[in-house]
């Protein structure tokens, strides 16, 4: 219980109740939802989850990664490949996927942090690794090369042990991942490591002067972030049943991971969640609008303008502003 108390210490009671209500709702609502709304909710949870994972690096430790597709791609490809070729289920395969992503993250992180690449230079390094991994997978036959890797679509089968089944199965898995990561992030923030990350984000030199082992802490950040992102990749691969290097390691994939935390509020725990709701919501609204008015590209234009407006008028993100309105301010830790 002391663990629970530590996690909830300092959180407004009101926020805890809202959180509990939200979780209860997310647990019971899905069977009542239409297929469409379920798929929307799945998207929200997915982006909340990967956003949270990315936020560990950028929001907490202040390290800009624009190559998170690398970790998601590795996780997905390896777990899917093991299942496709050897029938190894994803619950086992994910360990290999996560291990590969952590290794990749360690290499990118070590090269960047050891040689003090900061800001955009570090971001370029992350892009480079993601890009050349894409090229490598284009030519790797085991992974299907540029032709892609396909899993058999088995929506009617219910085989949770192999992560085969309908949307409801995937919904509960992604809900567990998102909720678990939320709790993990809270626990990390309320630990020495978490505080050290914040110190590094604010001023690495001052952090080191008060005894923070900067390189090691940054390495932990990239490894944890990569591991969680790889899990998202595994889930993604089994949900969509297909993998192409051009999509899995795409620059756009890396960017979309960053949007929810940026829109929601960098460095906050609820930012990625709120951001995912806003982004997915806007996406759906503008898709409908696009179908209504029949103008090509209208969705993308509105979507872009909406993001622009949010970033201009709520530069700290939607969540800090919303939290004030709700009276549950979470300070940007």
């Amino acid at each position: 219980m002391s663990f629970v108390r530590r996690l909830t210490a300092g959180a407004p009671r009101r926020a805890l109740w809202m959180l509990a209500a939200l979780l209860a709702l997310l647990l019971v609502a899905p069977p009542l939802l239409s297929k469409y709304w379920l798929s929307v909710l799945i998207l929200v949870l997915y982006f909340a989850f990967v956003g949270q994972a990315w936020n560990i690096m950028m929001g907490f430790a202040g390290q800009l990664s624009l190559g998170h597709a690398l970790y998601a791609g590795l996780g997905g490809y390896i777990a899917a490949g093991l299942f496709f070729h050897y029938g190894v289920g994803p619950w086992a395969g994910l360990f290999a996927g996560v291990a590969a992503a952590v290794l990749a993250g360690s290499i990118v992180g070590y090269l960047g942090f050891r040689f003090s690449l900061a800001g955009v230079y570090f971001a370029l390094l992350t892009i480079a690794f993601s890009e050349f991994t894409r090229v490598a997978f284009d030519h790797w036959d085991w992974a299907g090369g540029s032709g892609g890797l396909f899993l058999k679509v088995e929506r009617d089968l219910s085989d949770p042990l192999n992560l085969r089944g309908g949307p409801l199965l995937f919904y509960y898995v992604i809900l567990a991942l998102a909720a678990g990561t939320f709790i993990l992030c809270r626990a990390l923030l309320e630990s020495r490591l978490g505080r050290y990350w914040l110190a590094i984000r604010e001023d690495a030199e001052a952090a080191q002067a008060v005894g923070v082992p900067v390189l090691r802490c940054k390495m932990y950040a990239v490894m944890i972030s990569a591991a969680l992102t790889a899990l998202a990749g595994v889930w993604n691969a089994f949900y969509y049943n297909n993998l192409f290097p051009e999509a899995a390691f795409a620059m756009g994939r890396s960017i979309e991971v960053t949007l929810a935390p940026i829109i929601g509020g960098l460095g906050t725990l609820f930012g990625p969640i709120i951001g995912a709701v806003v982004l997915t919501g806007l996406g759906e609204i503008f898709t409908d609008l696009g179908e209504l008015v029949h103008i090509a590209g209208i969705k993308q234009i509105f979507y872009g303008v909406a993001l622009l407006a949010i970033v201009m008028y709520r530069p700290a993100g939607v969540w800090p502003w919303l939290a004030r309105k709700l009276g549950v301010t979470e300070k940007r830790s």
Binding site: R195, Y196, E205, A207, A209, V210, R332
Partner: protein, 243 residues
């Protein structure tokens, strides 16, 4: 917690051929307060940075209680018992005053709760007790200087390096800081090395003073001796009033 003895021997550092510090040596007995003074650009902060592990000396060594600390990384130097402030203050801007100091306190105690209590304690003693939950960036410069000292102290050092913590303070604030440091030194026996231009503070605090100019030591002695030293008056003190 008690103070450590600092020995600086034959310290030298050049930057791209420019000799910043050459053959500087001094020692500070455990529990003493020692000042490092000299004109701007004399190399005082470079000496500090070599002690604190930011720069690796080209020559010479720094030892703390006989253990070599020169060449270690800054966080390792902190582990060895050295706390430092920065001349140009470096608060963790977006974090609260309390969190700033808590991060320092986490160095000696991994429990966030206990670190917070310890940090609040130090902040109260430095007169920042009523600003705990303000973001550090909202502090005035004198308060930021105090925050620097609090954060360094929270790591539980045996040697405290203070880089111009009096600069920019009003005379009454200087007196408060002096009183605080003197009490701290008396109560805990903490060794203090300070770089300072405010002679009023140097005179009031330091048992010994080392004077550097153009990277070399030109004099050493008690504050009284230094104030009468011809060489020191010529290169440095002549410019200012000795309070």
């Amino acid at each position: 917690m008690s103070g450590a003895r600092l020995e600086v021997a034959g310290l030298g550092k050049s930057f791209r051929g420019l000799r910043a510090v050459h053959d500087v040596a001094f020692s500070v007995p455990a529990g003493a307060i020692h000042a490092l003074i000299g004109p701007n650009g004399a190399g005082k902060t470079t000496i500090f940075n070599m002690i604190a592990g930011v720069y690796r000396p080209d020559a010479g060594s720094v030892t703390l209680d006989g253990k070599t600390i020169s060449g270690l990384r800054p966080d390792r130097v902190c582990d060895a018992g050295v706390g430092r402030t920065f001349q140009i203050v470096k608060p963790f801007k977006e974090l609260s005053v309390l969190e700033n100091v808590t991060i320092g306190a986490l160095h000696r105690d991994a429990s966030l709760e206990r670190a917070r209590v310890h940090a609040a304690d130090i902040l109260a003693r430095l007169g920042l007790g009523d600003r705990l939950h303000q973001p550090a960036e909202s502090l005035t410069l004198p308060d930021r200087k105090r925050l620097e000292v609090a954060r360094a102290l929270a790591t539980g050092p045996r040697l405290l390096l203070l880089d111009e913590v009096m600069a920019g303070l009003r005379p009454t604030e200087v007196d408060r800081m002096v009183a605080f440091l003197r009490d701290l030194n008396r109560e805990t026996g903490l060794t203090i090395l300070l770089i300072e231009h405010v002679m009023r503070a140097v005179m009031a605090l330091a048992a010994h003073v080392t004077v550097v100019s153009y990277g070399e030591k030109i004099a050493e002695g008690t504050p009284g001796e230094i104030a009468r030293n011809k060489a020191v008056l010529d290169v440095y003190l002549g410019e200012q009033e000795v309070a």
